[in-house]
Each structure stands twice: as C-alpha cells, then as structure tokens.
Symmetry: C2
Subunit: 234 residues, 2 copies
DNA sequence: ACCTGAACACCGTTCAAGT
DNA sequence: ACCTGAACACCGTTCAAGT
C-alpha cells in the first residue's frame, strides 16, 4: 500500500562530497531544463540529491549562486566569442557583432545571466574592459580617433545587447503564451485599417520583431556611419 | 497588553464596493511604490483593504491583472507619445524616438509592463499597428518606398526599445546593488591595463552604458542611413 | 568543518463556504 | 452575485542541531 511517496529519505551525504563547483555545475544542468527564471533552491537540492540547506553553506544567498554562475558563464563566453581581427575593420566589427549575437541567441542561459541579470564581478568587468580595449586599439589602428572608436564600439555593443535582450524577452513571453486565451495569438494585421503595414508584411517583413533582418539593418547603419567618418569622400 | 497586532480584522466589504477599475487603480498606486516586480496579490489586498481572494473574483490570475494594467498603461502611453508630424521627416522621426524614450524612462512601470513583460491584447496590438501605419504613411509621403519606410521605422522602434530596456535593467540591478559587497561597486578602469578606455572615459564617456549620448549616436546612424537612401547625392 | 530537517514568512491560487 | 478565511503547494532563508 504505497503511502503517497514518502519524502524519499535521502542517505546522509559524507563530509567532503559537496563542493561549490558541483553546485554550480548542477545549477547549469537544471537551468538548461527550467531556465534561469525557473531555477529554485529546493529544486536544485533535489537535483543534486542534497538537503536544500546544504547549498546555503557554500552560497549564503541564491544571489551569490547566480553571481557565481554568471562568472563562469562569462569566462566561457569570452572564450567562445573573442575579438578576431579580419582584413578590414568593417569585417572585424561585423563578425564580432554577429558572433556575439549568435552566442547569446544560442544560449539563453548566458543571455539571462549576463544581459538581463547582469551583475558582473569586478574580475569579470576587468576582463570585459580588456576586450573593449583591444577592439578600440584595432579601430584606432584603422584610423579612428580614440573617441570615435569608443563611440563606434559602444554603438555596436548596445545594438547587439539591445537586439538580443528584446528577442529573449519576446521568446520568454511566447513560451508563457501557451495558456493565454485572447493574448498574443498572433498580431492581427488587417489590410483595411493598415494597408501599408499589410503590404510590407506580405513580403516577409516582421513588424517590430527583433529578427535577423532588423539586426543587420541596424548594424549597417552603424558601420556606414563609421565608414563615412573615416572616409568622407565615399 | 498588545497581542502582536492581531490580524487587523477588516470589516466585511459591502456587495458592490469592489470593481475591476479600482483594483487596477490600486495596483498602479502600489506598483508606484514597490515596482511591478514587487507587486504581490496579498499586498494589493491589504492596500485595497480587501481580502486577497476577493481580487480573484475579478482577475482569475495575477497575469490577468497585469494584462489589464498593460492595456491601461498602453492607452495612456499612446496618448502621451503620439506620432507628431514636424516640417521634415527627419525631425518627425527624431522627435518621435526621443519622446517615446523619455516617456518610458520617466515611467518605469510603463517600461516594465509594455517593454519587458510585453503581453499585448489584440486590441492594443491593433492600436499599435495603426500608429505604425501613420508613421509609415508619413515616410512614404516624404519619398520612401513602403519597404524602406517599414525598415526605417522598425529600426528606430527597435533602437528605442533596446535602449530603454537595457537602461531599465541596468537601473533595476543597481537598486539591488545596495547590499552587494564585492559586486559592481563601480567599474574599475585601470589606465595601466586599459589606457585607451581610460582616455575616452576621462572625457565623460560611459563605457557600455545605455545613456543619452549613445542613444543619440545610434539614432543619428539610422537617420543618416535613411537620408542617403532618399538623397544619394548628400 | 560540513551536512541536515524543522520552521518561518512569504507567494499564487483553490475551495467551500458565508451574505 | 459578490466577498471571505482556511488551506495548499511552493519559495528563500534561518536556526539549532547532528556527525
């Protein structure tokens, strides 16, 4: 006569059997399934087969654990999307922007931790600063003033982060949409009231959606602007 | 001998004393203090001096309430930031982008509901579509093709939303920072390891921060791009 | 030094009433 | 038809132990 699955009675763990690295690792495994938003301490305890409170010996707050995850994610990301120099500064920047974007889009956990939560440790911030420094150096070598290079890189950086964040938020809300009745079935475009919109969207354009096309468009704007700055003749 | 503030024993409300409009109104008042993230149903019940469960008679889920708030916020916003035509399409677009941004920045609740949560009702989506239609019509009148006008408006729209969302996330995380020890005291730029960055930031530039300067820069890129499309000579 | 369950204050939500 | 408290399953976190 099974009694409603009695609380599962775990064996007591040995003394050295738990460590911060395993906890972080397990947290990533779990987040892969339930996303960062869905991650909870009790769930993580179950996933690791540990009493919830044991986790608190290593991370005094859930925030501390998320910070540690961010640090680890960031170091892997920096490895995955370095600033690679191509022949021309234009290609270099474009490639950088694209790989940065694709890295985030392909890894929502990374985006949630780094872009949405974005609590960087001092160490991570320093590492990021060095990446920016290299990028600016490349641009200065190509003929930009330090200020122009700085503004240009910032613009690219913001464009990528903005695009990714909007897309991530869009995807998140769409996942929930599953049960929503009247909400966001799909944007209804009626040719009677909005003929121009209907015309443009009939050709495959997506309204205000953060997609590849809109990303490339904004990227071109920034690169063209920079190009004319460097070479007013063209 | 006060007994730890006994549960406050509210009077029972009369039958017609509660209605959805009041609930939404109270929710906004509360959100003004605790932000959208901090809004909870029990808190709202206390604020309205109503049993928590009474709210559930009008809104079956917290999500429904937030959707209703979004709808109301959106209608006020549309009123606050209409698409005003200036002499030149360039001014028109620039003004539109700026007022849109300022509206959101000045009203974090609006930003949280519309940009971050962004669950639009079919009605709101339709209203939004009509605004876009008007904008595109203006641009077509100025000489753009429908496709070009559509892309241009989308780019502006994305730029504004991206900038605002990044800034809002940045502000949110900074509020929490209060208790964080080693995290994000302020980005340390060391002239020894990152001299170019240090040089640019000494002149007042903010690293990858979503600020006025970076916003205007991106806006110029888009408008210049559009200008050259319309008038290749310049 | 490390691991643990009981306990607390909170949350969103359901249910079976009261009026 | 509307308003209600008790109750449930969840959460983050603390505390006083156990080994």
């Amino acid at each position: 006569m099974p009694k409603r699955a009695a609380p599962a009675k775990r064996q007591r763990r040995e003394r050295g059997s738990l460590n911060p690295e395993d906890i972080i690792q397990g947290a990533f495994e779990l987040a892969e399934v339930v996303s960062i938003d869905g991650l909870s301490m009790p769930m993580l305890g179950r996933h690791l087969d540990v009493g919830v409170t044991s986790i608190y010996w290593y991370f005094r707050k859930k925030d501390d654990l998320l910070n540690a995850m961010t640090d680890r994610a960031l170091s892997r990301y920096a490895f995955a999307a370095p600033f690679v120099e191509a022949d021309h500064w234009r290609e270099t920047l474009r490639n950088h922007a694209r790989t940065m974007r694709e890295t985030f889009l392909g890894n929502p956990i990374l985006a949630d931790l780094i872009l949405i939560r974005s609590a960087l440790s001092r160490d991570a911030a320093r590492q990021g600063a060095q990446g920016i420094e290299r990028a600016i150096a490349t641009l200065v070598k190509a003929g930009f003033t330090v200020d122009a290079a700085f503004d240009l890189y910032s613009a690219i950086n913001l464009h990528v982060r903005g695009s990714v964040v909007l897309q991530r938020l869009y995807d998140k809300n769409k996942e929930i949409e599953a049960g929503a009745s009247a909400y966001y079935d799909d944007i209804t475009i009626e040719p009677e009231t909005t003929p121009l919109l209907a015309e443009a969207m009939a050709k495959g354009r997506r309204s205000g959606a953060p997609d590849d096309h809109n990303f490339e468009y904004g990227l071109d704007c920034i690169l063209d602007h920079a190009g004319r700055l460097l070479d007013p003749g063209n």
